[in-house]
């Protein structure tokens, strides 16, 4: 029973990270209709920036919040410089640029900080909670929960949040009420980059810091976004927790999977959902008028 509870709690903690990445992916998807394949590498790069700041003696939480701000600004810059000119470009151009970004961030991180695996500090005390899960997992869970709640309130209750939704849902009408749609997209990128940065900094103490650290995690994030429904930010978050729990339980209780094949669980989930419920658990079907 303890093992079961332990796996559920670990699943929830990991799920919180997947939820963040899924939310970041969904936010960009809603704005430009494409999956940002570079989301994980952007988060990894942010985590390295935080690491560098801590390495030169900046206190953890200062580095943490500075990294969020830097990532936010970098996300805006990426949209303005790279994606704005591509606005009307076909799908393949977007995908090529995403893959290009992924490669650039990955090799730049390798070139700047080399490829050796580094430890990343946790701001939370050592030890475990009731012998069930580590204190870092508990802290990580609550930090991401606070972040998700803040994002929810931002979109639900602020003028800019509503305007961002309006710009994503109906750009033509949004412009007609005076919303600067291009800047709303850039803001979406900034937020997505900042959310990704939090996910990266929170997961790094567990998976350790190296240029490929987010590769697997982004796959879980994609799985979460698809399970929850790519059109639904709330669904993506729920999908994140669901994927976290499923992945952990499958790894523990299905001997054939074990910890080596855990990542395949994400892929199986993606394929299953796309086959049987392509809009995800919470997504709405998209009707296109022809």
């Amino acid at each position: 029973m303890d093992l079961f509870l332990q796996q559920i709690l670990t699943g929830l903690a990991n799920g919180a990270i997947y939820a963040c990445l899924a939310l970041a992916v969904v936010m960009i998807y809603q704005a430009i209709d494409h999956f940002n394949f570079a989301q994980g590498e952007m988060a990894m790069f942010s985590t390295y920036i935080c690491w560098s700041m801590i390495a030169v003696g900046i206190p953890y939480w200062v580095a943490f919040f500075l990294t969020i701000v830097i990532s936010f600004l970098a996300g805006i810059a990426i949209e303005r410089i790279i994606f704005k000119p591509l606005h009307n470009a076909p799908v393949l151009s977007h995908i090529v640029v995403f893959i290009g970004l992924l490669a650039i961030f990955n090799s730049a991180a390798g070139a700047i900080w080399d490829h050796t695996i580094k430890t990343f500090p946790s701001p939370f005390p050592e030890g475990s909670f009731q012998g069930l899960i580590g204190m870092h997992e508990v802290g990580m869970f609550f930090i991401t929960l606070i972040l998700l709640a803040a994002i929810f309130c931002f979109f639900r209750f602020t003028r800019i949040g509503l305007a961002m939704q309006a710009a994503a849902a109906n750009p033509a009408s949004a412009a007609l009420v005076g919303i600067r749609v291009g800047w709303m997209l850039a803001l979406g990128w900034g937020l997505a980059a900042a959310i990704g940065a939090v996910a990266g900094m929170m997961i790094a103490p567990i998976v350790f810091l190296d240029p490929n650290m987010m590769l697997g995690i982004l796959l879980y994030g994609f799985a979460a976004a698809i399970v929850g429904g790519i059109t639904s930010p709330g669904g993506a978050v729920a999908g994140g927790f669901l994927v976290g729990i499923i992945e952990n339980l499958a790894g523990t209780y299905i001997p054939a999977i074990g910890s080596e094949l855990k990542l395949t669980v994400a892929l199986v989930l993606i394929v299953t959902v796309l086959l049987f419920k392509p809009n995800g658990l919470f997504g709405k079907s998209i009707v296109t008028r022809v």
């Binding site: 509503l162 939704q165 009420v177 005076g178 919303i179 749609v181």
Partner: protein, 237 residues
């Protein structure tokens, strides 16, 4: 009377296809002007050109300022509200949120609250539906919401694209009575595009007739009503 909008040699095109071939027209401040024409004449494109939603050539002078090359959001901020074809409400937001979005570019909180009450006075049904998702409103309610959202900008000029489209005759009548009140009581100038020529000429004091991208006739609504060709082709008697 002074002119609120003066359009000179306006051309618009979608890609290679030219849709407007050099229009010249003007709107009187405080008046209602209508553009009549068959499907594909360029009525909607004319409105879209004023709002900067299509590539244009020529001058569009809005109370002394050339707005032809401004972006849509900036044209809106000059005080031109556009109720687009098909209403264009934000379907996943509540009616109330849609109205708030209409005032997005304004910062005068107490005035916004005042205008919100005013919109609810014009369209009491929107107050009943204020928490309901815009996508679940009936056609008439959605059109009222679209007009209400445009009013929340506190515009000087209101562009209306087929407001009667798909609505029951009684609802159309109610809507046009309210449009008349908005014009008279709030002094909002209007440019109305309508398929229903009889309805449009009743509300408007000035009219232009558009045929395949060119203005072929213009004048006061009364004179247009008496025109033989208009009567046969657009009024059907």
């Amino acid at each position: 009377m002074s002119q609120i909008l003066e359009v000179t040699n306006l051309e618009a095109s979608y890609g290679q296809t030219k849709v407007l071939n050099g229009l010249d027209f003007s709107l009187e401040e405080g008046g209602v002007t209508t553009i009549l024409g068959a499907n594909g004449a360029g009525k909607t494109t004319t409105l879209r050109a004023i709002s900067g939603m299509v590539t244009t050539k020529g001058q569009i002078n809005f109370s002394g300022k050339d707005i032809a090359q401004l972006k849509t959001a900036d044209i809106t901020r000059e005080g031109i509200a556009h109720v687009p074809e098909g209403r264009g409400t934000f379907v996943r937001m509540s009616a109330h949120e849609n109205l708030l979005m209409g005032a997005y570019s304004r910062n005068d909180k107490s005035e916004i609250a005042h205008d919100l009450e005013r919109v609810y006075t014009y369209f009491p049904v929107l107050k009943e539906r204020r928490t309901q998702q815009a996508g679940t409103l009936s056609g008439g309610e959605a059109q009222m919401l679209a007009v209400g959202r445009a009013l929340m900008l506190r515009p000087r000029l209101l562009l209306l694209d087929e407001p009667s489209f798909g609505l029951a005759p009684l609802i159309v009548q109610e809507l046009f009575e309210i449009l008349k009140r908005i014009n008279v009581e709030d002094g909002v100038s209007m440019l109305l595009v309508e398929q229903n020529a009889a309805l449009a000429l009743e509300l408007a004091d000035q009219a232009y007739l558009l045929e395949t991208g060119s203005i072929v006739l213009s004048g006061s609504s009364e004179s247009i009503l008496e025109n033989e060709t208009v009567r046969r082709s657009y009024l059907g008697y």
